[in-house]
């Protein structure tokens, strides 16, 4: 195996020089071979993608795109296929996750590229997916057609594997050409997906480009914003703010900002199933090493169940300890370790002061940390499997804890809400939560979920109405 992963997949017939040595980047991404890019490459690339889409993708029936994705998914699931082997070899080191984690992430992502999942996505979004191929009659007369914008630029920032590949596939389904700059830790999956798609369906080979460049190359990112019709940006508020301020007025933006996941555990899940609940909760924390937008940072736990919130926090710690063995943490940045020690130390002092705080953690070997924190606030975690458990008299009071964080809420995992589930869901919806799910499903939203409250394909298309009387 080569010692570097080539961090690009270019449309057929397009080439750019390979970067020799390091480009003066202070922290070169490890394991990646990069292209030596100038803004003109981005301009030329956008033009090539626009042509490629006109000449091929836009006329390709949507079911053919689904078929191509399905074939690539099958290759990723076949252990003998080079695509699967390359994915498994590179995903862990480039994303900074352990190899058991890389395998689970790969399987979880690829499942969503299979035909049944994609067909359901199209159905949920459009009813009749052929509205993406041609004008279709509506029930009350008239016709309409949906089509993605010609060239979409997808900007990933960060290291959650799967973000870029999902975004790429969504855009292709609505027949937008894709220029994707993945986050540093998310290069492998989109490059391999794009490579597989190009091999499976020639029309796709001319309509997809995946290229990694460092976030510091704002000249390249800025150029990509100018030559696209729609930008899909994943990043923190600072990144999204930067994109907004550099976007030409005619270019549309779909921004997926950083989010704060929360778990809520009711009395009904604190009886005989308390251990299973703790395991589900731990798994939601552990998957993606807590870096996903759906990852829980805090668990709000109801008092008065068979197992007290304090004891449940102990179970959660036990489950995290076990999972460190089956799904070990990836290497943690020194900065995060430094913060983990701060949190632990402060919590230990609180425990010693008799404030009711109890802290459990994995010592120097493992960063996982559970802080049982009566009266605690909702605060984002430093990540690395660090969570807080806050007891509440009932889950509705837990909702009050979430207020102040509306801008960042997205997924809430709920267990054991019992008869109060309906009212709880209503309260969460009013607060701005856009996904309520079980603890176990937190890490894996289905392809058709309303991502940050919006249909994932509807967010990318432009409708054309053909009114009666023409």
């Amino acid at each position: 195996m080569a010692s570097l992963f080539s961090s690009w997949q270019l449309p057929r017939g397009f080439s750019a020089p390979i970067l020799e040595g390091e480009e003066g980047a202070p922290s070169p991404p490890p394991f990646l071979r990069r292209l030596a890019l100038e803004p003109r490459h981005i301009r030329e690339l956008a033009a090539a993608l626009r042509r490629g889409r006109e000449e091929g993708l836009v006329g390709l029936p949507v079911f053919r795109i689904v078929e191509a994705a399905d074939r690539v998914a099958a290759r990723f699931l076949d252990p003998g296929d080079p695509l699967a082997q390359e994915a498994l070899a590179w995903l862990g080191p480039t994303a900074g996750v352990s190899s058991p984690m890389a395998r689970i992430i790969l399987e979880g992502m690829v499942r969503d590229w299979t035909r049944p999942r994609l067909e359901r996505l199209l159905e949920e979004e459009f009813g009749d997916p052929t509205v993406l191929d041609a004008f279709q009659s509506t029930a009350r007369g008239g016709r309409r057609r949906a089509l993605g914008l010609p060239v979409t630029f997808h900007l990933g920032a960060g290291s959650v594997p799967g973000v870029g590949a999902t975004s790429l596939l969504r855009a292709l389904l609505v027949k937008s050409a894709v220029l994707l700059k993945p986050g540093r830790g998310d290069v492998v999956l989109p490059v391999l997906l794009a490579r597989g798609l190009a091999a499976a369906e020639p029309a796709l080979a001319s309509a997809v480009a995946v290229i990694y460049w460092p976030g510091s190359r704002t000249d390249l990112t800025g150029e990509a914003l100018r030559v696209s019709d729609l930008v899909v940006a994943y990043g923190d508020d600072e990144t999204v703010g930067w994109v907004r301020s550099h976007l030409p007025p005619h270019v549309q933006l779909r921004a997926y900002r950083h989010r704060l996941g929360v778990g809520m555990v009711g009395r009904a899940a604190l009886g005989g199933t308390a251990w299973a609940t703790a395991r589900d909760a731990a798994r939601a924390v552990v998957l993606f090493d807590q870096r996903g937008c759906t990852s829980p940072h805090v668990f709000v736990v109801e008092e008065g169940g068979g197992v007290s919130p304090r004891d449940w926090a102990a179970l959660l710690g036990e489950a995290l300890r076990e999972m460190e063995e089956t799904l070990p943490s990836g290497p943690l940045e020194p900065e995060t370790w430094a913060t983990v020690h701060q949190l632990r130390g402060a919590a230990e002092l609180e425990e010693e002061m008799g404030n009711g705080v109890v802290v459990r953690h994995g010592g120097a070997e493992a960063p996982w940390t559970v802080v049982f924190h009566p009266g605690g606030e909702l605060l984002p975690s430093c990540l690395g499997r660090v969570v807080r458990v806050v007891p509440v008299p009932d889950l509705h009071q837990g909702v009050a804890l979430l207020s102040g964080w509306e801008k960042y809420l997205q997924t809430v995992g709920v267990a054991g809400a019992g008869e109060g589930a309906e009212a709880l869901a209503e309260a969460l919806a009013r607060l701005g939560v856009c996904r309520i799910t079980s603890l176990g499903n937190m890490p894996w939203p289905p392809p058709w979920w309303h991502h940050d409250g919006v249909g994932p394909l509807q967010a990318l298309v432009r409708w054309t109405d053909w009114e009666p009387g023409v």
Partner: protein, 417 residues
Amino acid sequence: MEGRGLRGTGTVEKGKRPAAGAEGVRSPTVEVEETFTALRGRLLELMRRGVESPLSDRAFGDLALEVFRFQCRAVPAYGRFVARRGVDPEAVQRWEDIPFLPTRAFKVAPLMVGDPRHAEAVFRTSGTTSGLERRGEHYVRDLSLYRHSLLPNFQAHMFPEGEGMPVHSLLPSPLEAPDSSLSYMMGEVLRELAGGQGGFYWDPRRGKVREGFLEALRGAEAAGRPVLVVGTAFAFVWWLEEALGSDKVVSLPPGSRILETGGYKGRSRALSREELYRGLEAAFGVPPCRVVNEYGMTEMLSQFYEPVLRTAEEREGPLSARYHRPPPWVRTLVLEPSTLKPLPAGEVGVLAHMDLANLGSVSGLLTEDLGRAVSGGFQLLGRSPGAEPRGCSLAMEAFLEAGGHRRRSSPGGGSAR
């Protein structure tokens, strides 16, 4: 001891000592008070010798262990923290082996020798952008230790020629910001080292620089007398946006200098240090080789400076080669980030400081700052410019650590912009 003319020694010394009870039996409180006074006397003596009198490893180690053992007894919360780690204070042989207290513990409880209600000052860390996290509080039992630590260190690094000069600070005054350790420090510097010439020009209520700042700069320009300009990186960025490209640009007389503190660690798109210093040169006419970075924190009564003004040869070289130098009564360890075991020189780890000036609270502090040991001190390492965030999960850091190195209360401490 009280009669030695130390300024401002506070309430604790002023006859609040409880009665000792039966003759010959010293209560624990009395023992603590007496030990504090004795150790303080030795420390003040050490500080009076200045920052150029080196302290041997042995001398520092002995004093550090005494201070550590005393704090385990006298600050019960710290004592319990140490006991929880299975460490017997009397059995520790090397100061490097003590449990360093994470600075965030200052958010949890008042950590002070004696009754926190008798603190002479309470300094607070800056609020956060979200405003949702508790602020750290440093209860300062005895400000004389702060003064005696900060003045010789400041003198040696900012006025190495010996002569002071007017000090114009982009900070709120100590009266406006009584909980800012930085404002307190600059108030002392203004009075003791600058002959009272200069002022405070950050308006905390309006969040902007006061009108008088430009007049002060122009006055210095006209008089041809060098000045020291002090500010946080945040305040300087504010001023650069205001001044650059306008008629507010000045060229301060030769010999002028700038003290800049914190602010470029966190955010990827904040001004790089090179850009900031170029901007300072354009706005003030002070070259980067005369801009000094100070690293300090609310939880510590001692500071670290880059020794750039001290010697000619240290003035040369790129910003990336600069380092921070501790005074003799502080030592810094670089620890492996997960195990917290000391690292060999040159390797990057988490910084832990043993600051004897913190006699009245906790001296052994674990920070969140990364750095590496170099000859003469340590280099601070921020997040590399252009580094990308780790995930699409909201991380605490984005909210709480946007202010950079400095976590003490100061304008803009909570935000890089």
